[in-house]
């Protein structure tokens, strides 16, 4: 076994081992379940170690090196279909592995504190490790089927973790919703996979991308579209995005890991992996972009109206994912991956920060209950927060940094990645194919950037600035502010790590023209483009330096303007008063946003209710009368025969002997005939 095989086995195997150790021992031993330090250590080692290994691999893999494929064994060998359990180490998978294990590791660390008092501690970490295992299969699999295994695996873990507190019906419903919406996408994914296999007879990426000329243009269109539909499920895009906000029912560290940093970006990974195939079908590229742009602005407008801290972040995630798809469709694969990485940093940081806030708010609730004060409030509602910056300095600072990053203020991470996306949209707008549409999408992107900066600062200011509003709003809660406290180090340390990453993460993708302008010579300072060069089939950006500076300046001005307005309106933490102003200004639009464009109601009326009605009136009746009737008739007949034959078994020994003799005669007769 050579070194890379061994390392890949470790990367893949350690999280799986962690899952088995914590899962099996936790299941059978109640004393192990109580041993939380050990459980936490095992689960963390199972992710930190792969992270370090991935770093080692990363530094030993040059940008122009070809992919290393590690084949462990043949998984399926049926007819002409051969599928190996084979993992691929190349620039793209390494980047994703680093994000998954790196962000994953710090979220594991955070969970030690966050889940510390939960009785399902062992189960939580077992699921979390299993998720990492599945996600690594997704990003490292060398063929579509192994990717799909990971794809389904992360879906399963997402289901398990959203419904982690499954005794609450709403949470378990949210888990089911997530799973079912994903199944719709998976269905399309499967068909796409069949079509690929039908054409090239293999599911290996090398074979698929090496035989692109074998695909007819209709196939390229349909396969691309089907995989994209799969991606809209997993990556929460219109029309399948409605599960993601509900998925916030899970523990917050899950939201950070699965529903912000990693799993939801797997659709972007998939399309980037197949980018050479996607660029051959401009129609699909356009669809991807349009859906992405629509999702970005729809989710951003909804985020504006939400008061639940996690829901705002959830819609923000949907919106940012839309941004990434906008980039993909505009031929900015590297830009999309860049945004995946930076978004993983600041959104994980934001989610973990919100978890820290919720943790404290719940603590306040418990304390008040202990004092005998019956206070009923939602610990996730920003209208009860405010002024938390004094008691939670680390959480506040990291949250603010991540907010600046997502708002697109230079030189933080989000600025560079978002700018590159807009640049690509604009560049595609200058292109021949559907140029005006791409130009509109660029406008949508700019508008979304404005909204993003605005609602994120609204969230931050309402939560941390002004006065603590719980005692104001609820009389019984007087003195609640004394119970506010900063979270333990195991929670704030990951916050700081992610905040630092949000600050410096953007420099890996700093545009060359910026440096060129200042130094006056050709620069090659951008790390990401050369790194993904061999995989991402980017459209070239065709613009003069002046235009690029102009666009960049516009983006900064828009973001800064949004921040300034948000500061004016919410800087003092007056969330409800200022929301009223926004409502008055936007009128009927606000209503639509608040109602979330009625997507859920639409599905309810169009799909859920007709299906339920059909099942209830037709299928159930068919099942009861025809299917059950048939089964019962068969069963009844068989049982009747059984009860008739049992009378032969009289218990009288002489009759037994008689049957024996009959048997002898039968055998003799058959032998001698």
């Amino acid at each position: 076994m050579d070194l890379s095989t061994a390392l890949v086995c470790l990367i893949i195997g350690l999280p799986l081992a962690g899952f088995f150790i914590n899962g099996v021992l936790g299941l059978i031993s109640s004393s192990y379940r109580e041993n939380k330090p050990l459980i936490g250590t095992i689960a963390n080692v199972a992710v930190f170690a792969p992270f370090l290994i991935a770093l080692y691999l990363f530094f030993n893999h040059s940008a122009d090196a070809s992919a290393v494929v590690v084949t462990l064994f043949t998984w399926i060998d049926v007819g002409t279909l051969t599928v190996d359990i084979a993992y691929r180490i190349d620039q793209l998978s390494l980047l994703m592995v680093l994000v998954v294990t790196g962000v994953g590791a710090f979220i594991h660390l955070y969970s030690i504190g966050y889940m510390g008092h939960d009785p399902g501690y062992w189960k939580f970490f077992a699921y979390l490790n299993l998720f990492i295992f599945a996600m690594l299969n997704l990003v490292m699999g060398n063929n579509l089927l192994l990717l799909f295994l990971g794809w389904e695996g992360v879906g399963l873990c997402s289901y398990l973790l959203i419904g982690f507190w499954y005794k609450d019906m709403a949470k378990s419903d949210a888990a089911k919703k997530a799973f079912i919406y994903n199944r719709v996408g998976d269905f399309a994914f499967l068909i796409g996979m069949f079509m690929v296999f039908q054409t090239v007879g293999s599911l290996d990426f090398d074979v698929i991308l090496g035989n692109l000329e074998a695909f007819s243009s209709e196939y390229l269109f349909w396969i691309g579209l089907l995989f994209f539909i799969g991606a809209t499920g997993k990556s929460a895009q219109i029309p399948l995005f409605v599960w993601l906000p509900d998925a916030m029912a899970g523990p917050t560290s899950v939201s950070a890991l699965i529903h912000a940093a990693t799993m939801v970006t797997s659709g972007i990974y998939l399309i980037t992996r197949l980018s050479e195939m996607y660029v051959l079908s401009p129609e699909v590229m356009l669809i991807v972009s349009v859906i992405g742009g629509l999702t970005a602005i729809v989710a951003a407008t909804i985020a504006l109206t939400q008061n639940d801290i996690k829901r705002v972040l959830a819609y923000s995630t949907v919106s940012q994912l839309g941004y990434m798809f906008l980039a993909l469709g505009a031929g900015g694969f590297t830009a999309a991956m860049f945004h995946v990485v930076t978004h993983a940093f600041f959104k994980a940081c934001l989610f973990l920060g919100s978890g820290s806030v919720i943790h404290t708010m719940e603590h306040v609730g418990e304390k008040l209950k202990k004092e005998g004060k019956e206070v009923d409030f939602d610990p996730q509602d920003i209208r009860f927060m405010g002024g938390l910056r004094k008691s939670m300095p680390s959480t506040y600072k990291t949250f603010l940094i991540a907010t600046i990053a997502i708002a697109g203020i230079p030189p933080l991470a989000g600025f560079f990645s978002k700018d590159e996306i807009l640049m690509h949209a604009f560049s595609a707008g200058l292109g021949e194919y559907a140029g005006s549409l791409y130009m509109i999408l660029w406008g949508v992107g700019i508008a979304t950037a404005f909204l993003t900066a605005f609602y994120m600062f609204r969230l931050t200011f309402s939560t941390f600035h002004g006065k603590f509003k719980l005692p104001e709003k609820v009389k019984e809660a007087s003195g609640a502010e004394s119970h506010l406290h900063e979270s333990p180090v195991s929670m704030t340390l990951p916050l700081w790590v992610l905040a630092v990453a949000s600050v410096i993460g953007g420099f890996m993708g700093i545009p060359n023209f910026v440096v060129e302008t200042f130094t006056g010579q050709t620069a090659n300072i951008n790390l990401l483009h050369p790194w993904l060069d061999t995989i991402a089939a980017d459209y070239p950006i065709v613009m003069g330096k002046a235009v690029e500076w102009l666009l960049m300046g516009l983006a900064v001005a828009i973001a800064a303007g949004a921040v300034w307005i948000a500061w004016k309106m919410y800087g003092e933490g007056r969330v409800e008063e200022s929301d009223a102003v926004v409502t008055a200004k936007t009128g009927v639009f606000y209503k639509v946003w608040q109602e979330k464009y009625n997507f859920d109601e639409f599905y309810e009326a169009l799909v859920v209710r007709p299906v339920v009605r059909f099942s209830d009136r037709v299928l159930a009746v068919f099942d009861m009368k025809v299917v059950d009737g048939f089964v019962n008739a068969v069963g009844g007949t068989v049982r009747l025969f059984g009860s008739l034959i049992r009378y032969v078994q009289s218990g009288v020994i002489s009759s037994y002997a008689l049957y024996l003799v009959i048997g002898v005669i039968l055998v003799m007769a058959m032998m001698l005939s």
Partner: protein, 477 residues
């Protein structure tokens, strides 16, 4: 020195016979029963180790062609020893709990298993008869273990009377074959025989003897009554070890004695018996409320599935039969073991399926294990029972017996009902009253868990790129 070599080929039985003698002496001198138990376990573990060695050893005949060793015979010795060991392990706590823990039990089991190994390795009709009788007499004693109660006496008496009756046929068959060929050794008989009515009648009667021992329909009538009246762990012993021995002996007779002879066609007969056995066994099992009786009929049905492999009459079929016997041994002992565990509780009558209501949630390990064994008995992947069924049915299809295989599959589909019924009670019914279960002993619990793991492991083993059990068995043919 030849004798020593021969003895070496017969070592598992030799160990058990010697251990049986020591055990009966220990019993005579009133040794503590725990010591007898421990001694028996040690002896059986040794015998098992030797029999595993023999699985990979050479094959041939010994003791003047009286016995065969290696190959199928070695597999028979292995199965008998394996089944005996597990049955003994689970017997102690159970017999203790039902107050029928006698010193002689272990000696009788050891002697019985000696006879079974002798039967399973026989290469001569005389040896076959010796084996059958040594086995049967011990089983008669064990069937009447519940002394002083009507059910035990009934069980033993029925078994003795019908057993003697059937042995008569067996012996008569041997006599006729000897009359027709002047020989008792399989190879010599095969060389000398012609399809005369005398020989055919002898073969028919010999087969009747076998059909009785493997409880094929219509020679099965004793089975439910005896199984019900025997202590449960010993029922497991009856249903697995003794059946495995009889089947292996039948395989040897069919594969070594019959096929050379012109004009003797057994496929038709075996098919009819197999169909009858599968249908009747499953049908009556459907209407049983007593779990032990249900398992008795289920064991009849399983004998039917195994007969399907025999009817195929190909090397593939025999391979399937051997594998099925292995599967059947581990999953059936497991199922009986869990029932024995429940029976140790006197709170309710745990042979009645109605009293299994909600039982799965008390000591979940046991509920899960019982479910695993029942799923495997149904033949649901990924458990070993599925592979057993697959191999025998596939062999039948490849041998052109498609109708037979279809009937077999339908019959096993019907069996889903009565196995699942137990699980429905285990998990989906509310218990009628509150009661506590005793804790299973460590040895008892872990041996059942081991059986559960084996049931799962051998169900998924062929997917691993290692040498699998089925490959080992297929080298015997």
């Amino acid at each position: 020195m030849d004798y020593l070599y021969d003895l070496n080929t017969f070592l598992p039985a030799t160990i058990m016979a010697a251990a049986g003698l020591v055990a009966i002496l220990m019993a005579a001198y009133k040794a503590r029963i725990g010591n007898i138990f421990n001694f028996t376990i040690v002896a059986l573990v040794m015998a098992l180790a030797v029999s595993i060695r023999d699985l990979f050893g050479p094959d041939g005949t010994a003791f003047f062609d009286m016995i065969a060793y290696g190959g199928t015979a070695a597999f028979g010795a292995f199965l008998v020893t394996l089944g005996t060991l597990f049955c003994v392990v689970i017997s102690r706590d159970y017999l203790e709990a039902i107050d029928h823990h006698y010193r002689e039990v272990y000696a009788m089991i050891l002697f019985g298993s000696t006879g079974m190994v002798g039967l399973a390795v026989s290469n001569d009709l005389i040896m076959l008869f010796l084996g059958v009788e040594t086995m049967s007499i011990c089983l008669y004693v064990l069937a009447g273990l519940i002394k002083g109660e009507k059910i035990g006496a009934e069980s033993a008496l029925k078994y003795v009377l019908l057993g003697a009756f059937s042995t008569g046929f067996l012996l008569y068959g041997i006599a006729l074959i000897y009359g027709a060929t002047g020989a008792t050794s399989y190879a010599v008989v095969a060389g000398a025989a012609e399809a005369t009515p005398l020989f055919l009648a002898g073969t028919a009667l010999l087969l009747v003897g076998f059909f009785f021992k493997i409880s094929a329909v219509p020679f099965h009538m004793w089975t439910p009554d005896v199984y019900q009246g025997t202590p449960t762990t010993l029922t497991a012993y009856f249903a697995t070890a003794s059946k495995a021995a009889s089947f292996i002996a039948l395989v040897l007779v069919l594969s070594r004695m019959i096929p050379e002879i012109e004009g003797v066609e057994l496929t038709q007969l075996l098919q009819v018996i197999a169909i009858l056995t599968m249908i009747v066994g499953n049908l009556i099992a459907l209407v049983q409320d007593n779990v032990k009786r249900m398992l008795a009929y289920s064991s009849i049905a399983h004998a039917g599935y195994i007969l399907v492999g025999l009817a195929a009459g190909t090397p593939e079929g025999y391979t399937g039969v051997l594998y099925y016997l292995f599967a059947y041994t581990i999953m059936n002992i497991g199922a009986f073991g869990v029932i024995a565990y429940y029976e140790r509780n006197h709170a309710l009558d745990f042979t009645d399926v109605h009293n299994y209501a909600g039982l799965g949630y008390k000591f979940p390990v046991m509920g899960v294990l019982l479910s695993v064994f029942l799923f495997s008995l149904i033949g649901i992947p990924p458990f070993v029972g599925f592979l057993g069924k697959y191999y025998v049915f596939a062999a039948a299809v490849n041998a052109g017996l498609v109708t037979l295989a279809v009937i077999g599959v339908l019959a096993s589909a019907a069996s889903v009902f009565y196995y699942l019924r137990v699980m429905v009670y285990l998990y989906f019914r509310e218990p009628h009253k509150e009661y506590q279960l005793v804790r299973p002993g460590a040895l008892f619990k872990y041996s059942l868990i081991l059986l559960g793991i084996l049931t799962l492991w051998y169900g998924i083993e062929p997917i691993f790129p290692t040498d699998s059990l089925i490959e080992l068995i297929s080298t015997y043919y």
